[in-house]
Amino acid sequence: MGSLYSDHPTWLHGVPAGVKLAFLALLGTGVFYTHALAVLLASTACCVLIFASLGRATLRAKPLLMGLVLASVLIGLFHLYMQQPWVGAVSVLRLLCTALMGMALTLTTRYNDLLRVLEWLLAPLRVLGVQPERLSMQVALMLRFTEHFFVVWRRLDDAHRLRTGKAGGFKILAPLTLHMLMAARRVADTLHVRYRR
């Protein structure tokens, strides 16, 4: 399964993942604390410029961008209908600001780099028994099995279609879950034998 990361090089690719995440956290907090339309307009303009400066790298985010535009239009229209245009403008600007920067971060940061930042952030939880280094292994396992279960889903659907002439739909949900639980047992046994965990 591919990530939303874009290989097309941009200036933002060179900025460390931790710095980008910290900027996003600060921006997100900032725009949610302010109600000043001028500040929000200026922030959104900056975010749009930063996003646009990524050029062809943004093509990968086209479906996400369409969703963002749709959500913004719906929220704006709803507030206009409720005769609260100012509230609508503030909501839409906040949404555009944070979502565009979130997309910029995703497009320009490899998931391994973000994983390393997450592990670093989780490191203080080691005293509570959390093992941050497990995170990367769990993500890898999860991705491997997402593809596997999708194939199983397709096989069950095909088998149901052959038997009944109709798509399986929700009827194959229970067999899929049973298959998944049995696979989980086998994998858990293997991991226990291999890693003692």
């Binding site: 399964m1 591919g2 990530s3 939303l4 990361y5 995440l21 997100g28 949610f32 479906p63 996400l64 969703g67 963002l68 749709l70 959500a71 719906l74 929220i75 709803f78 409720m82 609260q84 909501s91 906040r94 949404l95 944070t98 979502a99 920067m101 979130g102 997309m103 971060l105 995703t106 497009l107 940061t109 998931y111 973000l114 997450l118 497990r134 995170l135 769990q138 993500v139 396992l141 999860m142 991705l143 491997r144 099995f145 997402t146 596997h148 279960f149 999708f150 949900l173 229970a174 899929l176 879950t177 049973l178 998944m180 639980l181 049995m182 696979a183 989980a184 994998v187 858990a188 991991l191």
Partner: protein, 179 residues
């Protein structure tokens, strides 16, 4: 660890089934069924871990949400309240399932319906409403009215969850439902 990863994978597979977009920019997806199933089948602790792992994978940019959405940006969208509510909802579902009787397949199915209605429906919607109020700037009344649109669909998911739990209780009698 395997169960947590594999359940997170199952939730991701549910995301490959097409979503339906509703007004206010919040989609109806089958992934909330994954939240309910995680609580009922894994118990509170592992269900919470599975959902945290899934959201961590989304946050690092993997397109695992329905419609191929992913990345940090989704946590700033109007639906973010629902996303943040998923781990808590899964935990509450697991807790309720753990407390209710589940000795027979029928009893387990009824318990699963109640547990998913409390955790996967009520708790997730409370978080969703808070998200709509804060991000879409709706009033509490408007947000509650907006979220009510999802309730019939989520009740169907509770029934589906109960059906799956019933099948698991019959097919894998030694499986510890609710952890």
């Amino acid at each position: 660890m395997a169960l947590v990863s594999l359940f997170a994978a199952l939730i991701a597979v549910f995301g490959l089934i097409p979503k339906i977009d509703l007004p206010l920019g919040v989609p109806i997806t089958l992934q909330t069924l994954g939240v309910m199933l995680a609580g009922c089948l894994l118990g509170p602790k592992r269900a919470l871990q599975a959902l945290m792992l899934f959201l961590a994978a989304v946050a690092i940019g993997l397109p695992l949400l329905s419609g191929g959405r992913g990345g940090v940006g989704v946590f700033f969208s109007p639906a973010s309240g629902y996303l943040i509510g998923w781990p808590v909802g899964a935990w509450v579902t697991g807790m309720v399932m753990h407390l209710l009787p589940r000795a027979t397949p029928r009893g387990a199915a009824i318990s699963a319906f109640l547990a998913s209605a409390v955790g996967g429906l009520l708790v997730v919607h409370v978080f969703g409403v808070v998200g709509l109020v804060n991000i879409a700037n709706l009033s509490w009344e408007q947000a509650i009215m907006g979220t009510l649109v999802f309730v019939p669909g989520d009740l169907i998911k509770c029934v589906l969850c109960a059906t799956v739990v019933h099948t698991v209780a019959r097919g894998l009698p030694d499986w510890r439902l609710g952890g």
